[in-house]
Amino acid sequence: MAGLTIKNLKKSFGTNTVIQDISFDVSDGAFCILLGPSGCGKTTILRIIAGLEEHDEGEIFMGNKEVGNLSPKERDVAMVFQSYALYPHMNVYENMAFSLKVRNLSKDEIDSKVREAARLLDIEDFLDRKPKKLSGGQRQRVAIGRAIVRSPQLFLFDEPLSNLDARLRSTMRVELAKLHQQLGTTIVYVTHDQIEAMTLGDKIILLDKGIIQQVGTPQELYERPSNLFVATFIGSPQINLIEGSLLSNEGRMFFKSGGLTIDLGPRTVLEKYSGNTVILGIRPESLTPGNGPIVGSLEIIEHIGSENILYVATDIGRIIAKAPPDFQGRAGEGISLALRTTDIHLFYKGIRIAVGVLS
């Protein structure tokens, strides 16, 4: 096992720069998520770590060893692909044994390793089946099995769950977390799914357009998004954004947008932004029906069992709020929303200015 350090990584395809100067490190045994919308360069980073793609500039360390110029074979990493990429002409056993055979291990050693991995993943019953006779979930397990048989230094997962249906995906998510606990190997996991990222990761690296937007724990990204991109990318339903201006009055700060005025209390850190246009962000769960400053009419109510999601039309645009499951309102009715001012985020020119939970 080893940690991973990436320094000043750059990569272009022709004139198209996909990764612009990225540095991060993953400590030994961590579960690190590369998260971002499609086309943000996350898969390219993973392929560069694996050695499948050459980088233009930068260094890659596994443990203390620079591996940037080594072939995939010499890097001792294992990778699980989005499409599983099982060898169709080999059965499950042969698929899992392939990497060990290439490394010239003895037959007994191969057998014991394959069977151990099969037991761990509960795929012992179909070791002699070809991939096409397996269901999506089973193929996924085989693909993971193929990766774990040779106990590599580093696991790379490229959107491994995106081809599974919703139910299977949540089961596999739990199993992956369990597997990581059992094996303790460092994992770099690429996904565009924020639920996977939030539930699996110790550390999330959020990317957009080949640039790191924020690095942190799932909680940090959720509660202290460093910019507008992070704030809107993380969280479902999406954070509400309201454009307005900051005003100071007798030592207190106010946010004003149309007919809406929110009292932010005495905030000296915000005084220098007084008079400027800012964007206020507030997550739906911080807005609940009650006596508050935001008024409008209920457009749609989504009942999802554990809670209700309210879409409220106001004169400052559509606002999304959450209500407890026993909420009785109906579409078309007027509603007023209370907000927790401690959960407010303010962004100035796209960058978060300290306020709310951080204050």
């Binding site: 995939p72 692909f81 499409s83 099982l86 060898y87 169709p88 392939f98 990497s99 290439v102 999506g136």
Partner: protein
């Protein structure tokens, strides 16, 4: 059976019969006796004599031509496939500039009428001293069949998911190992298809063989059979027997490999 169905199968039967008629005719003739070949009215059921086969082998040296054809067609197939596999893999996988141009040129070259290149080919072979030698026929055949091999294999390689090679390389293969352990076994239908087509071409080719192989020692089957005919003799029976000998191996090879030419071998590699 409905009249429309009857018509459908009737037409199919007629087409198949007309295509097979020459084949049936010479197999039929090869099994007759000397007298039966020219008998009027013609005999519908031959007596099953193998005399023509015997005399084709002893008097006309049939097996010598078979041997030459096997050498030339076999070597052509091996060399063409070997080059095609690497060329097609590079064309299918590498980020090459002008890929379309290369593929287009290959197609263009394969469309030249043979007669237009016969002169230059002959001159080159003469300069090399390769007229009347196996390589003198194999090399032109390889150049003529390469476009076919490369086109077939490129399309097969293109259809194989690239992730399979990535997976193989992660599993510890070099690029070459990934090619022969993963890609070629999966492209086997394509490799066999190309092999059969190249072999058939080299086995049947007449024009270049006639031009290049003027000594009996190196002549291939099509030339050999054509030269059975003497100035005053036309040994129909022996020609029919030799034609059967030339055709049956091809039919057998195609039937044998037909099982391998099944698509969908890569099903299950990726989702779906």
């Amino acid at each position: 059976m409905k009249p429309s169905k009857l018509l459908f199968y009737g037409i199919i039967f007629i087409i198949i019969f007309l295509s097979l008629l020459p084949f049936i005719w010479f197999v039929h003739t090869s099994l007759k006796t000397e007298g039966e070949v020219t008998a009027i009215p013609p005999k519908l059921v031959p007596s099953g004599s193998l005399n023509f086969y015997r005399s084709a082998i002893t008097d006309y040296n049939l097996l010598h031509y078979v041997r030459n054809s096997v050498i030339v067609a076999g070597a052509t197939t091996c060399v063409t496939l070997f080059i095609s596999v690497f060329a097609a893999y590079a064309l299918a996988r590498l980020r090459l500039k002008y890929k379309g141009l290369i593929m287009g040129s290959l197609l263009l070259v394969s469309m030249f009428p043979q007669i237009s290149i016969a002169g230059p080919v002959w001159k080159i072979l003469q300069a090399l001293g390769w007229l009347n030698s196996y390589q003198g026929l194999i090399i032109p055949y390889v150049t003529l069949t390469l476009p076919l091999g490369v086109w077939i294999l490129t399309s097969f390689f293109n259809e194989l998911p690239k992730e399979l090679e990535d997976a193989a390389r992660i599993d510890g293969c070099t690029r070459i190992q990934a090619l022969y352990k993963i890609v070629i076994p999966l492209a086997a239908p394509g490799v066999f298809t190309a092999a059969i087509l190249v072999f058939i071409y080299a086995w049947n080719e007449f024009f270049f063989a006639l031009l290049i192989m003027t000594q009996q020692k190196f002549q291939t089957l099509p030339i050999g059979i054509a030269l059975f005919q003497g100035q005053y003799t036309l040994p129909w029976g022996e020609i029919a027997a030799a034609s059967t000998v030339a055709t049956v191996p091809l039919v057998v090879v195609v039937f044998l490999f037909q099982k391998r030419i099944v698509s969908g071998l890569s099903a299950g590699a990726i989702k779906g």
